[in-house]
């Protein structure tokens, strides 16, 4: 199978990890990297800050923009970000748990339109409801895991069947997803 899109979510306690992950990406990556950080203000400068870390161009997509490989896309504040194989769709539906953007609309629609060609990880430090979004990817054959980036709490091995990747293994896992054209089945 081939990974055609990589989704990277970060809960509010892990938002700072996103820059560190992006900084390790090579200059050329064969997939688009779509980043969702909930709880954002329209005026925040996250896109600007991430661009300083990332060797790839970082942008906030507009509605119906084409999804191109080798770029980092950041879900804009105030909208949910959805994908339709190759195209972004923005939505103003109600915030989910007070969050807009949030993980579920992106992961659900990536599972729908990319199926087993979607891979994704949500960086977090707590067992909350974000596993459901990753489970949606996995249910349609995609690859998904939780990245445990908390220094405090010990990582569980899985959350409701969604594998948890420990802190020091998170970056290699993401690199493999973003840079390998084809991956063997059966891994987390």
């Amino acid at each position: 199978m081939t990974v055609e899109i990589f989704l990277l979510g970060a809960s509010s306690d892990a938002a700072e990890s996103v820059g560190a992950v992006l900084s390790l990406l090579p200059r050329e990556v064969p997939v688009p990297v779509v980043v969702v950080v909930p709880e954002r203000e329209p005026s925040d400068e996250l896109c600007f800050r991430l661009a300083q870390y990332s060797p790839l161009p970082v942008e906030e997509p507009e509605d119906k923009d084409e999804i191109l490989p080798g770029r980092v896309y950041l879900a804009p504040a105030g909208y949910h970000l959805l994908v339709d194989r190759g195209t972004f769709v923005l939505s103003r539906e109600a915030p989910i748990n007070r969050q807009r953007p949030s993980f579920a609309p992106l992961f659900e629609t990536a599972a729908d339109s990319y199926g087993d060609a979607a891979a994704g990880m949500i960086l977090t430090g707590s067992v909350d409801s974000c596993w459901e979004s990753v489970a949606m990817l996995r249910a349609s054959g995609g690859i998904g895991a939780i990245g445990w980036v908390s220094g405090e709490a010990a990582a569980p091995t899985d959350v409701h069947g969604v594998p948890v990747i420990k802190h020091d293994a998170v970056n290699p896992w993401i690199m493999e997803m973003c840079t390998s054209h084809s991956l063997m089945r059966g891994r987390p």
């Binding site: 507009e62 119906k64 804009p76």
Partner: protein, 277 residues
């Protein structure tokens, strides 16, 4: 909700059947909606109303025009606050209002009633600029239910954030002056509603119905796919007089349409365009 591959294949068939049924019976084109958004909302409706499947929903809407109305309203409305994206309203005051003031009578088209707070915000702004009394705001939607809801003038009680956005947009009074609070809801002042003309218009099927000085279509086109968006942009272009203004959503653009060159973008305005040809 977790969806397996087989379920997804069935859903695809069911969405096609729903589109076909709704087109043949009601003349509405669900095909022109952005597919992932349509699918997500259909799943939510199916789960909330207990239809079991999209096929179940199809049976329900085919046999009940009321259900069809409710579905259309769900598919094309989103919760919004007053003066959302205050920079848009601030730019509107600075750039559009001085030009509107040069006209003895003003026609303004607000496309979509799915977020009526937007329409009330506009009316407040025009009132404060002293031109509401000579303006006709045409507020249109395909959905009768959304038109009725907007016409009722009822909305959630005002909160501090709305008041702050109003001030950030350049508001000159107290936001509360324009609303009557009645327990768990607020009602917009009848004086503002007097200049708003609610009219049914299918932006996906119908043609232009007037020439306007300004057209506001913020976040309404998000519901539709690219082909339909281009068609709607053609309609907006034809409905706008030369040097008229077009307002779209913060994350929408004219780039991919044939009309990109027909407009000048107003710098730093958060998506205000002026028709120049």
């Amino acid at each position: 909700m977790t969806v397996t591959r087989v379920q997804r294949e069935l859903e695809d068939i069911e969405v096609d059947l729903l589109s076909e049924g709704v087109r043949r019976h009601y003349g509405l084109e669900l095909d022109s909606f952005a597919r992932p958004m349509l699918l997500r909302r259909l799943r939510q409706v199916v789960a909330r109303e207990g239809h079991g499947s999209i096929a179940g929903l199809l049976a329900s809407v085919l046999h009940s025009p009321t259900r069809m109305e409710a579905l259309l309203a769900t598919l094309t409305s989103d919760p919004a606050g007053l003066f959302e994206d205050p920079s848009f309203f601030a730019a509107f005051r600075q750039v559009v209002v001085p030009w509107l003031k040069t006209h003895p009578s003003i026609r303004l088209w607000h496309v979509g009633c799915g977020s009526p707070e937007e329409i009330y915000s506009l009316a407040i702004l025009l009132h404060e600029e002293g031109i509401l009394s000579r303006t006709r705001i045409y507020a249109t939607d395909a959905s009768n239910e959304l038109l009725t809801r907007a016409q009722s003038g009822r909305l959630a009680p005002l909160d501090e954030q709305a008041a702050a956005r109003y001030l950030a947009s350049g508001g000159r009074h107290e936001l509360g002056e324009y609303f009557a609070n009645e327990g768990k809801q607020a009602t917009v002042s009848p004086a503002l509603q007097e200049r708003i003309f609610y009219t049914q218009h299918h932006v996906t099927n119908d043609g232009p119905f007037n020439e306007f000085h300004t057209v506001i279509c913020r976040n309404t086109m998000l519901y539709f796919n690219r082909g339909q968006q281009t068609r709607i942009h053609g309609l907006l272009f034809e409905s706008l007089g030369r040097f008229g203004f077009l307002g779209i959503g913060r994350k929408e653009s004219l780039r991919r349409t044939p009309y990109a060159r027909a407009y000048d973008e107003i710098e730093g305005s958060g998506r205000l365009f002026r028709r120049i040809s």
